[in-house]
């Protein structure tokens, strides 16, 4: 690309600051017992990536099995275990904590001018809980897996399978508490730790998005926890609350499960939306169009997100009137997302746009999330949901929003803040290539699934009628490309740790507080409490700062 905004310091003289959060203390214990939000973020980043690749390898197995109509690679029950673990790992151990636990953890204190999250020990505890849950999940896989689907549908999960439902449930339960503590910590931090001058409407939209997501984490997650407890007790002693033979109602489980899991999809997407607000502003050098609208739409998504859960149960036997209400509310919750998309689009208007890697991922996000979101509306419309539900249309929908949306945003964010986290730049050319490969591979993988779904191919099928094969082959081929697209960043980002160009404080000329300190930052973030005296995304302020040539590194 010809025009960029990257402004790196003179590489021949530049140094990574000697004292920073990475070098402050050494030794494995200094990491495992750290209270520093930045180090915990790094711990999360490493462990999350690990789980992502396990989930990805399972996805590879799914796609390989679906290459042919018969069940030739694995038996049906193996296939069932594979997609269950794929879903469980990807959702609970990758996507829910992805952006919040890494970028959120790293950046929220920096962005609001605080020295740390309000509860550093709880923050570390939530990482340990996450790891404990993760190990349990891996153990479950090793011990023979579980085949209930990630939704744990009763009475299948309570009375009809004899796989490791209990350990998986416990793993999810523990991971849930990790998520609760993260959310709780964020809310307290955002309320109580903002630096002087940092009013609510000067907060970066990233922080708003995390605030909204945290509300969901705190209020929705406990409900899935109790649902899991009930499933466990049903399985072990047969309490009968979900057992139709004893007078219980299996649909009650669905209510409790989706009361969490619908808000959970917004837990997954909102932080990603926060990332997009930051990147799109930085790379078009403009304040986000309609700041307040974007901020409030995050909160609106969080609030409305609580009222729509039963749209996952339209044909499951809830009352028709409830269907009506929940379908209507689903339409309402879709609107704030549309508002955001259009505001981001108009942020580009009259900007001065450059196309660095984070921006490419951002464009990927906008296109794919729009498709994914709009197909969500197909599912939220009660009539068409009858035809589309439980088919590959859903699989395509949620991969578009989760992989095309959130994963793209995650990668955008990782690239964007990589210089801040490590002090070094990633290699631009190859990462742009990776972004493009991901985009192409993604569409190849998941677009055919919309057609498959409309044609009626059910999800969670190890074998399928032969006429669906062609589209499945496309999908599998695309997944291979996609896999490459995800492996590349791992390689070049690792490479850049040692060989990347020195980034300097603010390689993107971005306005956030986090960019005004050295990279990598000091353990205590700021030497003195900062004072916020300008609006968020104030590029004019930044210009004036540059003119004054104020250096901020304390190193």
């Amino acid at each position: 690309m010809s025009a960029t905004i990257v402004s790196l310091p003179d590489q021949s003289t530049a140094r990574i600051p000697k004292v920073n959060y990475l070098t402050k203390e050494n030794g494995i214990l200094s990491w495992l017992l750290t209270g520093d939000h930045k180090r915990i973020a790094i711990l999360y980043l490493i462990s999350l990536s690990f789980f992502f690749f396990i989930g990805g390898a399972l996805a590879g197995l799914i796609r390989l099995e679906l290459l042919t109509p018969q069940t030739d690679l694995m038996a049906t029950d193996t296939y069932n275990k594979v997609f269950t673990m794929h879903g469980v790992i990807m959702i609970f151990f990758f996507l829910v904590p992805s952006v919040p636990a890494t970028l959120g953890n790293f950046l929220i204190p920096l962005m609001i001018g605080a020295k740390d999250l309000a509860l550093p020990k709880i923050n570390l505890l939530s990482w340990y809980l996450y790891i404990a849950g993760g190990i349990l999940a891996i153990y479950t896989m090793a011990a023979g897996g579980v085949d209930t689907g990630w939704t744990f549908t009763t009475p299948l999960s309570t009375h009809y399978v004899n796989t490791n439902v209990l350990t998986t449930g416990l793993a999810v339960f523990i991971a849930g508490f990790s998520s609760i503590f993260t959310g709780l910590n964020f809310i307290v931090t955002i309320h109580k730790m903002r630096c002087p001058g940092m009013t609510w409407f000067r907060l970066p939209l990233f922080v708003w998005a995390h605030y909204a997501a945290s509300i969901l984490m705190v209020l929705a997650t406990p409900v899935v926890a109790i649902a899991i407890v009930l499933v466990a007790l049903e399985r072990t002693i047969g309490i009968g609350v979900f057992d139709p033979a004893k007078g219980g109602d299996p649909i009650l489980f669905q209510h409790l499960f989706w009361f969490y899991s619908h808000p959970a999809v917004y837990i997954m997407i909102l932080p990603g939306m926060g990332v997009i607000s930051e990147t799109i502003s930085t790379f078009s050098r403009k304040r986000v169009f309609g700041y307040t609208a974007v901020a409030f739409s995050s909160v609106a998504i969080a609030v409305f997100g609580f009222f729509v859960w039963a749209h996952h149960m339209f044909i499951m036997g809830i009352s028709n009137y409830a269907v009506l209400v929940f379908s209507l509310l689903t339409m309402l919750v879709a609107v704030p997302s549309a508002i955001k998309i259009f505001n981001w689009t108009f942020t580009l208007y009259k900007g001065s746009i450059t196309f660095e890697t984070p921006m490419l991922y951002t464009f990927g996000f906008m296109g794919l999330f729009t498709i994914g979101g709009l197909t969500g509306v197909f599912l939220g419309t009660s009539g068409t949901d009858i035809h589309l539900t439980e088919t590959y249309f859903i699989v395509a929908h949620f991969h578009f929003v989760m992989v095309g949306g959130m994963l793209m945003a995650f990668l955008a964010g990782i690239h964007f803040w990589w210089p801040k986290m490590t002090g070094r730049m990633y290699p631009e050319k190859i990462s742009q290539l990776a972004a493009v490969v991901t985009f192409i591979g993604f569409n190849f993988t998941f677009f055919p699934q919309f057609i498959l779904g409309t044609l009626g191919m059910p999800r969670r099928y190890a074998s399928y009628p032969p006429e669906f094969q062609v589209l499945n082959v496309f999908s599998t081929a695309g997944a291979t490309i996609l896999g490459v697209g995800y492996l590349l960043p791992v390689l070049y980002l690792t490479w850049s740790l040692k060989y990347g160009a020195i980034a300097g404080n603010n390689p993107w000329q971005a306005t956030g507080l986090e960019w005004q300190v050295q990279s990598p930052p000091l353990t205590e973030n700021f030497t003195r409490t900062p004072i916020m005296d300008h609006e968020a995304y104030d590029y004019e302020w930044l210009e004036r700062q540059k003119e004054k040539e104020v250096t901020t590194s304390a190193g």
Partner: protein
């Protein structure tokens, strides 16, 4: 001062409310003790929200099945002992009061008062659990624990359960409805069990607090921990207030 006041210059010491002396319990990342206490209190409230939602799932289940199987819930409820239940409610309310007194003692720096209040709270908490276990034992005796040899005897043939029958003259339930009493007892054990679990955790923390309070840990200004524990204890009390009304007092006339 123009723009340069920005982050670059950090400026005025620590903003508005500067504290000269830094008490030892002030964590490094907080500006002031107020900020720290505020944050901790707020965090506690948020934690209580998760607890509300956790019990929320159980209350939802309760309301649904009570609606569906009302006769079973009535007969099930008659198996509970109102006297024990009321007594327990009183015990818990009083313990909530002593806890509140404890917080007051801490806030006003009364060490002995604090130790006394906390100890009373602990004793009352144990008393609650004691009464609860008497009740549980009775259920186990009558085979009213769901799952394990659950017995329908008292509901199919109330006369066999003299004590309860003489008081309420329950008509025998038909087999299908009688079976649904198991759902009632599931919810009973779940809700009271979950509540008891919270009590046990609370009592554990109380023990720790008494130990520390005797050393004067909470009476020298740093009362956040006591206050937050107080919130927890009162919350557990509130849950019981509802459990008592919902589980014990169904159609007692």
């Amino acid at each position: 001062m123009p723009d340069s006041t920005a982050i670059a210059h950090g400026a005025h010491e620590t903003g508005s409310n500067t504290h000269d002396e830094h008490p030892p319990y002030l964590r490094h990342h907080f500006e002031s003790t107020e900020q720290q206490a505020d944050a901790a209190g707020f965090a506690m409230w948020l934690f209580l929200l998760t607890e509300v939602m956790f019990f929320g799932g159980l209350f939802t289940a309760y309301l649904i099945y009570r609606n569906w199987y009302y006769p079973a819930f009535v007969s099930g409820s008659h198996q509970l002992n109102v006297v024990w239940g009321t007594l327990n409610t009183l015990v818990l309310i009083i313990s909530s009061f002593t806890m509140a007194m404890g917080v007051w003692c801490a806030e006003t720096g009364r060490r002995r008062g604090l130790v006394l209040s906390l100890s009373l709270t602990l004793i009352l908490g144990l008393g609650f659990l004691g009464i609860k276990s008497i009740e549980y034992a009775e259920k186990i005796e009558k085979h009213h624990v769901p799952g394990f040899h659950y017995s329908l005897q008292s509901f199919l043939d109330p006369q066999s359960d003299r004590a309860v029958f003489s008081e309420y003259h329950d008509k025998p339930l038909m087999l299908d409805m009688a079976r649904h009493t198991e759902v009632y007892f599931s919810l009973y054990f779940l809700m009271t069990g979950m509540h008891a679990l919270h009590m046990i955790i609370g009592i554990g923390i109380l023990g720790f607090m008494i130990f520390r309070a005797r050393a004067g840990a909470y009476t020298s200004g740093h009362v956040t921990f006591v206050e937050n524990f107080g919130l927890y204890w009162h919350f557990v009390d509130i849950i019981w207030i509802y459990l008592f009304a919902l589980l014990y007092l169904i159609s007692r006339h």
